[in-house]
Amino acid sequence: MTLVCVKDLHKSFGDLEVLKGVDLDVAPGEVVAIIGRSGSGKSTLLRCLNQLEQHDGGDIEIAGQRLDADAMAPSDLSRNVGMVFQSFNLFPHKTVGENVMLAPVVVRGVDKLEAARVAREVLDKVGMLEKFDAYPAQLSGGQQQRVAIARALAMKPKVLLCDEVTSALDPELVGEVLRVLEALAEEGMTLILVTHEMKFAHDVADRVVFMHHGRIHEQGDPKTLFNHPSTPELKQFISAVL
């Protein structure tokens, strides 16, 4: 059974072909780490999965729903896919609690009391419950990112996409965010994460996908992939980042 099914995905920006036929199946509960050099198309792949970019060719199916920009409202997609960004993107004019409650209330029509209950639940999960009434500007980067994760979880997505969610953080704040992701993984959340944290990919991911020039160049379980890379490109990449 697959939750995310990507077939022969193509995406170009003008003359630049960024994705040149990507095939990727992700099972429910699986944690997939995407690694690769800058410009290899990792972010573009994630952005196609949540339709921030529209793909030019191939098929994406998530939870049995075929992604088709023309036929889909944003609210359809958010039923299945959540996303956390490198730059947090919290709403600065809203408190932590309001950030988490906004989409359930506005998009799903959940009543405020229920939304607040869910907000407290997910904020507790990321260890940010005591900041319910704080504004994003009053939080550290790591705390903001944990709130962003909670905000995505409040929509109860079937898969959570994370694009370098620790890259904008000071080194001492990276750990707290990774621990939250690890806990989510253990809980059975399906995660697709682009990451430069090789140790995290090694320890937490069920599968590591190496992207190179717009294609999946090599993939496999983390131990094998990191210890016995079979392509020279991956060998080179690993020696460069470790």
Partner: protein, 218 residues
């Protein structure tokens, strides 16, 4: 020749300053309403409207206010319309203000980071929901300092209405000077009154800007 005491001069200037204030209010309220309408139309997604409003803004920003006043007053007269100095000044200043505010507000909407759109989108919000709950509240806060700041330009802009014979503060100063030949006293007083009107607004605008900064929105 009539003798003017200092008090006579001050009293006359203050009376005339009323019209400066009234004209400023008309220009500001009229300009803000029109500017808001244009801002909304610009967002509506209609290409032609967008281009036309863009041209409108460029024309009013790219020509001297004085010429706009001349056109509104003498130009309309030449076309056979009898427009009073009052009406001409109000119309010209309103259009001038609307063009600038429309541009200021567009800038504020664009100053909300793209990431806010993306985050809203992946949470399932559509264009109107995102505008209403995420973009507009932030743009509104961003817009207050430059809008208040621009109101200072409007007040000073009303001085130009003196050249089409509208008796506001500057025109009253010129007339008093013709009668008393005390230019230094009179124009110093005129400047002082403008300053008293503008300075609090500038200060307030700076204060608002600081508050935005503290709220982490810059």
């Amino acid at each position: 020749m009539i003798e003017f005491t200092l008090w006579d001069i001050v009293r006359n200037l203050l009376l005339a300053a009323r019209w400066t204030i009234v004209l400023s209010l008309i220009a500001f309220i009229g300009g803000a309403s029109l500017g808001l309408l244009f801002t909304v139309l610009r967002l509506s997604g209609n290409r032609l409207l967008k281009v036309m409003i863009g041209i409108y803004v460029d024309v009013f920003q790219g020509t001297p206010l004085l010429m706009q006043l001349f056109l509104a007053y003498f130009g309309t007269a030449a076309l056979g319309f009898n427009v009073s100095a009052w009406a001409a000044a109000s119309i010209a200043l309103t259009l001038f203000t609307s063009a600038f505010l429309c541009d200021i507000w567009r800038g504020c909407l664009e100053a909300v980071p793209r990431g806010q759109w993306h985050a809203s989108r992946v949470l399932g919000m559509d264009y109107l929901q995102t505008m209403r709950h995420v973009i507009l509240p932030q743009a509104l806060r961003l817009s207050v300092p430059p809008t208040v700041g621009f109101s200072v330009q409007v007040i000073k802009g009303t001085a130009l209405a003196s050249v089409i014979g509208f008796v506001e503060l500057t025109k009253a100063g010129t007339m008093l000077n013709n009668a008393t030949f005390a230019p230094f006293t009179i124009f110093a007083l005129v400047a002082l009154i403008y300053f008293a009107l503008c300075y609090p607004l500038s200060r307030y605008s700076r204060y608002l800007e600081r508050r935005l900064y503290d709220a982490g929105m810059r």
